[in-house]
Amino acid sequence: MNRGIVLLLLFSVLILLSGCWSKKELTDIAIISAFGIDKNDKGQYVGTIQVINPGNVTGGQQDGGSSIGPPINVYTETGNNLTEVSRKFSTGISRRLYYAHTNLVVVGERLAREDGILRLFDAMDRDPEFRITSEVIIAQDMEAKDIVRTITPIDKIPSNKVIKTLKSTEKNWGTHLRANMKDVLNNLVSDGKEPLITGFRIKGEIDQAMKMANIEETTPKAVLEAEGIALFRNGKLVDWLQGSTARGSLWILDKIEKTDVNINWQEHEEAIAYEVIRQKTKVLPKIYNEEPLITIDVSAEGDIGEVEIPVDLTDPLVLVKIEKEVEKEIKKEIQEAIKQAQKNKSDVFGFGEVVQRADPKLWKKLKSDWNSVYFPELVVDVKVDAFVRRTGIRTKSFLTEIEENRK
């Protein structure tokens, strides 16, 4: 019995002496919410981190009155690779950098075009703290540093705003998509698909973006907005998809949830708004004589959101005509997107993967030249089926009433 007690005592002393190696007090860590990567003229990496200042995020209520400092602080550092950059930050920051909550990674456009993103991600992929669910965006026409420095209204933490904006626009407008690191890495590796990454830019005065004054007016001087979608080839940024071509790509990728398709009606441009509620896109391959053929089958369902001219919405034949116009419009968007991708010789839609799944043996032969030869010449057949289910809570527009009254 004595022996047992002695051992127990020794062991407990051991525990207390150990110092608990992996312990990190909350006051000893700097929580990083966004990480931006640029390149400088010397070819070195420039890392920018957005550090959260917890007291300024929630505080201000208890002390009352005194002016609140910015909720984030931004630091910049240069180095030859990301790990070096990350450790060099310690010369300027009093705490240990904590990457587990880094939900946003921003890559500067220049770096993406010139060097490509292939070499960037290994450090983030390998590190146990970094999570591969972080969202990736490109800083369009500017440096990642600027985006990371911006202070945003309503969302105290700017990286939250970016991520939430991405989520909501992918869902509601459909011209931007989310790309988390896992997807980007998988697409980079896959020979049948190239990555697509959304780009953000600052609209307004860039140098005002980092000041608290930015959010002190009802209209901030500098606002972060999603702009286009970056197209990559072999890891390098080659082009931007904007507006309708961007949306076209999302149609193909089956990522559209809700959006608005405007159609022309009887010489009136953009007269009727068709709100897509749900859609399903199927990408089907057909192999003829060792040549692949892709069919894109879209079926969309939606409501009539708005009419600007008197149209009789109670007549099913009219609805059928509207449907046809919508189908034409969607088909056009998709074809434009495909054309742009083919021009850039980059299969961002995953047609290669589709062919691989259908005929692995054929794929083995085609894959090395897929992007350069086969994809640009690929024949893609687009079929769209649109349905108008409902017309909101009104049947005929009041405009129709006015028209009829005039008669």
Binding site: S18, W21, S22, A100, P128, R131, I132, T133, K182, L185, N186, V189, S190, E353, Q356, R357, A358, P360
Partner: protein, 363 residues
């Protein structure tokens, strides 16, 4: 041998927890790429056959530990040597699993903590359990089984809800043909984890109902096989083949992807806990076999005193067995299946069984 009896349900639970133990953690049959899950299924069927062989040997010599009946089958000197080799084998495997779990913890959660400490803590808990005997181990299994299973099922549901599963990642099914799958099954999954049930030969003598136990054991293997298949299916469909083969612990990578309703995310720790329960049982059973075997072979009355020195042996072995994780993994793929698993799980039991059958016929 201690005076203990375990029920068939306890055997079921122990086999299940043992099988899931480190197999949940590590990538299985990745040489078959996206068809890895088929390899797991095939391995499970093979494992069931092996289990029947082990159980048959037990049925010939109920109430006798393998260390004893090996001597009865092939004679004392050879039998003792064989028994000793098996003990070394089990000790090595215990150290392997300990190393696997230690590395997992150190990689994901406690980078600054020395591996020795992490391993030491786990082995201390194992010693505590094994000292109390197989009955306590069985009962603990019954209790923890529910918790672990709940966690696993919750994880599965969360992954499905997150919408992370992309069935396309599984295609093309059998894209390279059935051959790589069969190869993977017979060089990898048959031995790990299914053939490792050979260690239960040391536990069968404690059963109180042998007929029910056979069904219990086979059911456990089947259930664990299905579970592992589902897990590999999930891993590949969520992460993609490429990432699954690059991740040292694919299930954890999958769990890291869960994002539901804004705040249910970053739940890796909980699943790590479930995995530790599995690891505890796997190490525990191997360790129990080692201690009981040594006690039996060297005619030592009670196994409790042996626990501490044996634990030290296993602990040190787990630290020294490989100097880097890459070495450890490579050892596990290249040398262990052919050099260790094949003889100990397949050859020796079959030979023993054949000799035993012949002896029966004669008598």
């Amino acid at each position: 041998m201690e005076k203990a009896k375990i029920s068939s349900y306890q055997l079921f639970v122990l086999v299940l927890l043992f099988e899931l133990g480190s197999a949940l953690l590590l990538p299985l049959a990745m040489t078959a790429k996206q068809d890895a899950w088929i390899a797991v299924l095939l391995g499970m069927i093979g494992g069931m056959f092996l289990f029947i062989i082990f159980f048959r040997l037990y049925q010939y010599y109920p109430d006798k530990l393998p260390t004893m009946y090996a001597q009865m089958i092939v004679g004392k000197p050879l039998g003792k040597v064989l028994a000793f080799l098996y003990i070394l084998y089990f000790a090595y495997l215990a150290a392997r699993v300990l190393r696997d779990f230690g590395v997992m913890l150190v990689t994901f959660a406690y980078p600054e903590t020395p591996l020795f400490i992490v391993n030491a803590l786990l082995i201390i808990v194992v010693v505590y359990a094994v000292r109390k005997g197989i009955e306590v181990l069985g009962r603990t299994g019954e209790l923890l089984f529910t918790i672990m299973y709940l966690l696993v099922v919750t994880g599965f549901i969360l992954i499905v809800i997150s919408g992370l599963i992309d069935v396309n990642n599984l295609k093309p099914i059998l894209g390279e043909g059935i051959l790589p799958v069969i190869k993977a099954a017979f060089t990898e999954t048959l031995y790990f984890p299914f053939g490792e049930t050979v260690v239960f030969a040391m536990i069968f003598p404690y059963l109180n109902n042998s007929r029910k136990a056979r069904i219990a054991g086979l059911t456990a293997i089947g259930l664990s096989g299905i579970n592992l298949t589902l897990v590999m299916l999930m891993n590949i469909s969520v992460l993609g083949v490429n990432l699954t083969s690059r991740a040292p612990f694919p299930l954890l990578a999958t769990i890291q992807m869960i994002q539901v309703a804004e705040f249910i995310e970053r739940l890796d720790i909980f699943f790590m806990l479930a995995l530790i329960i599995g690891g505890f049982f796997k190490i525990g059973i191997f360790f129990y076999a080692v201690v009981t075997g040594v006690a039996n072979l060297f005619s030592i009355e009670s196994h409790t005193r042996l626990c501490y020195p044996m634990a030290l042996v296993v602990l040190l072995l787990s630290i020294t067995m490989a100097s880097s994780f890459a070495e450890h993994v490579k050892e596990g793929y290249k040398f262990v299946p052919m050099l260790l698993h094949l003889p100990f799980q397949v050859f020796f039991p079959i030979i023993l069984l054949v000799i035993a059958m012949i002896k029966r016929r004669k008598a």
